[in-house]
Subunit: 174 residues, 2 copies
């Protein structure tokens, strides 16, 4: 049984997940003064493993706290790597990795980072996506859906808007 | 008093408003069997003038019925043009056109067509946008928000999801 592969990401109105230099400062616009997390904690509860690109990993490592405690973490990298929290590494097509994670009992995978999400879409592995649409046009940046992703139909499972203007949409591949 | 300038358009999850050849066949996915129009008729009631590009105009002219009866229609074109329904033409920056329309008593303008919307955004003229997000990844096509549009913040006025999976978001420039 291969795991369910999930994407959970914030995106600007113009389809960017980061500025050209990777900056996420614009997410401050939708920081909820009331401390709401837009369901992120509940989402994290539901996943067993995180598969993320090296660049995203390196960014996460600069955070004050490691956000993936208790999760099986796989970093996609070819480069030298010293695990700090029991992470493993992987390089190559994602399908065999998902197969392997499934055999290890992983039921749901969180696919994180722009390049990794694109690879998951290219391999038609993404089962569901939670997109948090931030009410800003960035004008330029790193696209979530690069030109060339396979054309796919999605079913809307849930839509919710928040006082900050963020709209969260949960889609399942049709 | 310059008119309020509005965008009302359907867009794929990956920010395309048409396939590369201009085709809109993918909108059939969200055709409402119940005959719902996602508020289009009400929107049309609220506008006094339509400003649209030549390519969009030429496409609209192939429709069985002229959809802009009773509206002041301005076609952005430099080329030879024979008005069929009293349309006027214009070429150049949009700001003076909006000024002129305002002087003629136009209170709200519907900006239609990819190139025209981009020009409106480039000139920071767009006051509100109704985006109908269609649950499909097209993979390629004509983008709504081209790289290089000015960075702008928007306020979410309304969000609504429909049984077809279409999500309609109404934003006002902040």
């Amino acid at each position: 049984m291969t795991p369910r592969v999930s994407v959970y990401i914030a995106v600007s109105l113009d389809n960017y997940i980061a500025r050209d230099d990777g900056a996420l400062d614009w997410l401050a616009d939708v920081q909820d003064a009331g401390g709401g997390d837009y369901g992120y904690a509940a989402f994290m509860e539901s996943i067993d493993a995180v598969v993320l690109g090296r660049e995203t990993y390196d960014a996460v490592r600069t955070f004050d706290t490691w956000p993936f405690t208790g999760k099986h973490v796989v970093v996609l990298t070819n480069r030298a790597f010293t695990p700090a929290f029991g992470e493993s590494t992987y390089a190559g097509a994602l399908a065999p990795l998902m197969q392997q994670l499934g055999e290890e009992g992983v039921a749901r995978v969180y696919l994180d980072g722009g390049a990794t999400i694109r690879q998951g879409l290219d391999e038609s592995l993404v089962d569901d996506m939670t997109l948090s649409i931030v009410p800003i046009l960035l004008g330029t940046g790193r696209p979530l859906f690069a030109r060339g992703v396979p054309s796919t139909h999605w079913t809307l499972l849930h839509a919710e808007s928040f006082p900050t203007g963020l709209v969260q949409l949960h889609y399942q591949r049709s």
